[in-house]
Symmetry: C2
Subunit: 186 residues, 2 copies
DNA sequence: GTCTATAGGCAGATAGAC
DNA sequence: GTCTATCTGCCTATAGAC
């Protein structure tokens, strides 16, 4: 595997764990076992360019991941439940949630860097799109599917935030029971 | 008004707008028109101690604010709708949402500083408590009220995040239509 | 393409006069 | 209780050898 891909892979994990500002360039270099010169050779615009590459990588991984789950279950309701249960399992295992959430990145520099804000917006929209497609396949009209998909995205993002704040998977576990019910009744 | 209170008031606004890391000590000093020595006299433990004082201040303001809205409307459904509409109006006016969300603060240092994480957790629980009380007054049993209140908190927090990411009040506007319906059917 | 060395800036924090 | 001056350390970024 080439150096550039390795930098992206390792940096992606670090950004997800600690946020953009929380990870220093030196930490990335150490983790990748490369030097500063090498990093700036592959990413001439420095840390911000690296983050954008990482966001694209996250986009691919997360979209594939969610799409896979939504293909495996017959209805949006069951798929949602399975997805949230996967998140809680991740949290129980790792003590943190590394995927599906970019709130730390948005909060830190979304307001400062337009390219990064746009990359995050695209990520959220991709997730939301998968939910909406499944809801339409279930028979919901487009408008209702879009609204419901938006609420799912917001609730899951907020649920992850609550889990991190409380250091407990409780909020997501509760959501996995409540949220699918609201889908059923839509 | 004494210096300490003025520092807290001004810093609270800055932290809400730009997050914890986004605001430097020098910016706070300039906004408050004080010197570094003065700030460290009132907050010997520096920036972190100041943030905790600000979080307590936010807690008071936000709790009072939400409680006020929830007292003014007969049901949780109507109160929720009114609250979200207030948020969207704020967003339209200021271009940002300063209250009701601490996600940026949680994301930035919640994982690093235990006192700050706990202060944020307490804030979320207070909001959730107001929602739950109103839902119980509407006739929901305690368990269902707690679950629903959690979903409301998560959805609103996530909705704010989506608005900031998309630079649009659209997500919250959609939520103000979808979320109350899920309450109605609970 | 990778390295070392270093620049230059700004952060948070401290000391001590008044 | 407020001030100014200063310290130390970390950050991103660059220059230039190999």
């Amino acid at each position: 595997m080439d150096t550039k891909s390795r930098i992206i892979d390792i940096s992606t994990a670090l950004f997800q764990q600690k946020g953009y500002i929380g990870v220093g360039l030196n930490e990335i270099l150490k983790a990748c076992e490369i030097s500063k010169g090498s990093l700036y050779h592959h990413f001439p615009n420095g840390k911000e360019e690296l983050l954008i590459a990482c966001l694209q990588s996250m986009n691919d991984v997360i979209t594939t991941d969610i799409q896979d789950i939504f293909n495996r279950y017959p209805t949006a309701r069951e798929a949602t439940q399975a997805m949230i249960e996967k998140l809680t399992a991740d949290f129980e295992r790792d003590g943190t949630i590394t995927g599906y959430t970019f709130s730390s990145i948005v909060s830190e520099i979304g307001a400062l860097s337009e390219p990064i804000r746009l990359a995050c917006a695209s990520l959220y929209l991709n997730m939301q799109g998968i939910y909406a497609d499944k809801l339409m396949a279930d028979g919901l009209p487009k408008g209702a599917a879009d609204s419901t998909a938006l609420m799912m995205t917001a609730a899951i993002e907020g649920g992850i935030m609550l889990c991190l704040t409380q250091k407990s998977s409780g909020p997501l576990q509760t959501l996995s029971q409540v949220l699918p019910n609201t889908l059923k009744e839509s």
